[in-house]
């Protein structure tokens, strides 16, 4: 599964995208838990989950959104375009 990061989440994690094996992560929130377990950078990126938004296969979701079968999950701060 492709995991993508944007804005300060990208900067904290240190990469824009990476291939992650989701294991038994059923939701985006489960995936966050698995990522945090990978180390410091992830823990810092996800330290305030209220500031983290999720898209699953390029559709807005949240931490409860199922990710089984998803090709791409993205994490980013609240959007600030326009």
């Amino acid at each position: 599964m492709q995991v993508r990061y944007f804005a300060w989440l990208r900067e904290r994690v240190g990469t824009a995208a990476e291939e992650i094996e989701p294991g038994d992560a059923a939701t985006a929130g489960d995936l966050v838990d698995a990522l945090i377990a990978r180390g410091e950078r992830y823990a810092l990126a996800f330290e305030d989950l209220s500031a983290v938004r999720v898209a699953v296969d390029q559709e807005m979701g949240d931490l409860d959104t199922p990710i089984s079968g998803a090709r791409e999950v993205a994490f980013f701060p609240p959007v600030t375009g326009g």
Partner: protein, 159 residues
Amino acid sequence: MDAPTSTTVSVQTEDFDISAEVERITSANREIGAVVTFTGLVREITGEGPITAMELEHYPGMTERSLREIVEQARTRWPLDAVRLVHRFGKLAPGDRIVLVIAASRHREAAFGAATFLMDYLKTRAPFWKKEHGVEGPVWVDARESDQQIAARWGRSGL
């Protein structure tokens, strides 16, 4: 829904010309009586002080998709003859244009309503992030809580 050819979404680094974009829409349809445009610009002074540049990051693929969904939402709510969205990304300077929204209809109520809605939704749904370069170095712009409240007036949608 049959989207007329005049519905177009662009995500680009290039600048845009408001008159040219409006002309392209109105020259093709003589039933349009009202055209509303919104242009967003990089402000030189922000809450944090003066800035020298702004960087806009986006989520290629999802951006275009979310903008098209926002346009379709507007089309179900108002009788529109044409909609146009242009959003720039990359590095911009104070005074530069960031975003253009155009809504065209027979009468002004639909054009104003749709343009307002498109901006409200774009501000809260389209995957763009702004980073300002000011005296204290680069800072990611915080989302405005008020934008969420404003967008809430249109109710929940499936976006």
